[in-house]
Amino acid sequence: MELVSKFPYIANCALLILGLWGVLSQDNLFKKIIGINIMQSSAILFFINLAYLNDGRIPIDPKGETGYIAPLPHVLMLTAIVVGVAFTAVALSLLIKINKGYRSSKESVILEKEKSKL
């Protein structure tokens, strides 16, 4: 039971590490953006896990009873998702610019071209 209740956090950790591995190890810049997106999802899921309650009700409750899921983290994560979308949009537009300029979106190729220019 103890381990089962901790399972979502372990899954969060796994997602975070997967995303970080993607950012650090991948050669393709597009895959790096995907890595950051995975990391952002793990942070979002972390907040949702914090708010979760077993057998919890929705927070709109006319009877004023307790035992509902905390609404604030969900609201915060709506904003975080919007921030993530804006971030991804800027990242992709920069990537288009890079791809047009260097004719490649591989980091090793771009670094090679930068070096040969010097």
Partner: protein, 467 residues
Amino acid sequence: MIFAIPLSFFVGAVFCILANKKITAKKIAITFALINFALCFQGNFVNNLLAKGSFGLGGWTPPYGIEFFAEPIGLTFVCLVSMIGFFGLMYAGAIPSKSKQNNNLFFALTLFLLGALQAISLSGDLFNIYVWLELSSICAFAIMGYRTKEGAFATFNYLLAAGVAGVIFLLGTGLVYGASGTLNLAQISTLPNPGQSISSGFALIITSLLIKMALTPFHFWLPDAYGNSPTKTLGVIPAIVTKAPAIILFKIALQLHQNQINWIAFEFFLPLMGAGAVIYGSLMAVKQAKLKKILAYSSIAQLGLVAIGIGILDVKGTLIQIIAHSVVKFSLFCSVGALEHFANIKTIDELKSTFQKSPILSWVFIICGFSLAGIPPFAGFFAKYYLVVSSLEKNNFFIVAVILLSSLLTAGYFLKILENIVFTKYTKKLKSLIPKTIYFPIVFNCSLVIIFGIFLPKLISALEGLA
């Protein structure tokens, strides 16, 4: 009242997108920057800075609603952003643009960036700080990477670093929220016995701020990103974008260092990392040939001094260092940008006979170089003076040695520039290529370096003890 300050930038940004031929984006941006400037510097300036108070957004009282919290450090930074923003926009307006569409978007994004930077230093709520930090970063990516492919690639590296830092900040916020049930910094600071998860949450938050302020192990994105950014952005971005995370870090440290953060560790690590930044940045600056790269590495070194000041929690030294460095770097980056854009001078060797070409910019280089090295009448001296005094009070001779070494190393790379500017023979006859309008923001900020040298210690001692 206090909401009006960042709001004036946001309203201006919306109008900038709608700008047309008659009412250009440049005019709108400068008008709204002037409104912001007036709002920041109205009335009794020192009293404004001393104003303390919390303001709930939308009529919700702070523990439940979003809070804007006014206190001297944040307000000082708000005024700094307003001033640098105004002159940075004037500088950007003086550089001729190629396409109208890009121009509108450039000014709109710059205004959003400035507004977000002001809102960062005012907000007293962790999640809000996250949102403003991301907004300022996103605007910075967009205006830094829009011109060239090299700029786009360098900005992409910045984007990756800032993206990872943003996620780390969000996770830290989650840990703090999960353990304390609140996001409000003032409320967190009153918690009687915070546990392990709050201090580890703040450790994550501080790490993310260190990545965003480019302290040495995390500096990898800064030199290329500054070295390749378009000329127009050189007024705003290098001067204040990395200072905002530093200010947030300082605010959080001052508010929570007694109880919530395990500050003993940071008191040890921040000066150590700062010392690394000072030595590494200065040595790399000596090696560079491109002027923008020299200034970028010099920024890393100067941010190292800011980190040292935050580590020993010295209000005066840190604030003066942040203000002096912003003003100095504004003048230097703008002069380098003007030389590159109009006279095609990019490297140290091409600086020869600049003194004859443009004596004003040469004087700017000389004064700002002296201020960076910490020579007495200029602003940079007082930052180093207060840092040395307060580290002597704590018997920390390591920091004193680092600060004195930083003066020496700064002189090392700056004398190389000054040698080329001043002591080379007049070779070719070149008429003045640089338009007159570009001189005003540079010269004004450069004269501030001298004026601040005289008035800043007085202003800061008026603020002392109240921060």
